[in-house]
Symmetry: C2
Subunit: 124 residues, 2 copies
DNA sequence: CGTCTAACCAACCAATCGGTTGAATACGAG
DNA sequence: CTCGTATTCAACCGATTGGTTGGTTAGACG
């Protein structure tokens, strides 16, 4: 239980080889040997990478004789963007609030607006 | 030079503590001690986490006397979503292409459409 | 000056990671 | 049954990680 789903997903994509694998699987499903061909690391290493991606829920595997075709699973990607976008949006909103305060301070011909901004800050 | 910008960013967010730090920094800037308070790990450990986030470009630090307030930098988050969304979109498009083929096969009253789909696949 | 606080650097430790090699499993073909 | 192919398992290695503790720098304050 070292990490939750999100931790495993981010950790999985932290490796360039694994990101490349995801990029190629986005185009088409493929077997381990096919995926391993372009890299100059052993097939076992690629198999390990795929296991990491599988444990992260990014990849599923089916059975076709002795082949194990890999298939990209997109929903975890959605989970990741959801997490990231939430906080990106929050910082953005914080910027806009700051801009509003600065604008009201700049043209301090309207002391009521400035005071409202202060109240807003204190309320949080 | 173990990893590029993207690798460092994903690796940084692979840790739950670091994700929590990002979540809190999205709300407001904070100093190391303020950030460390809620966790039951040492301040040094939190400082290390912040250094990881800083190396990943997710956090910048300014100077205020002996304080080092941390500030969330949103552009790397954009870079990550850009990467993720690219491949999520690609898989989605692949699904739609497959659906189109299946639909044309189902009602095979239109052999031209089926053949077009085959040509599309061979063209890649 | 000395002292307190905020933060960092350095050394260390157990655990994990990315890679290797070698052996084992699973399956199709002859 | 035997052979070849595809894949995984197991053990090992060097590097990194997340955490600790102890000492050090930087700056505010008496």
């Amino acid at each position: 239980m070292a990490g939750d789903r999100l931790s495993r997903a981010f950790a999985a994509l932290a490796d360039p080889t694994r990101r490349d694998l995801v990029g190629r699987l986005a185009v088409a499903d493929a077997t381990v040997n096919e995926l391993a061909a372009p890299y100059d690391i052993s097939v076992q290493a690629v198999s390990k990478h795929l296991k990491v991606l599988e444990d992260a829920g990014l990849v599923t595997r089916s059975r076709d004789a002795q082949r194990r075709p890999c298939h990209l699973q997109a929903d975890v990607l959605d989970l990741m963007t959801a997490w990231i976008e939430r906080y990106r949006r929050e910082t953005e909103e914080r910027y806009q609030r700051l801009d509003a305060v600065l604008a009201s301070l700049d043209s301090d011909s309207d002391p009521a607006a400035t005071e409202a901004a202060h109240e807003d800050g204190a309320a949080s």
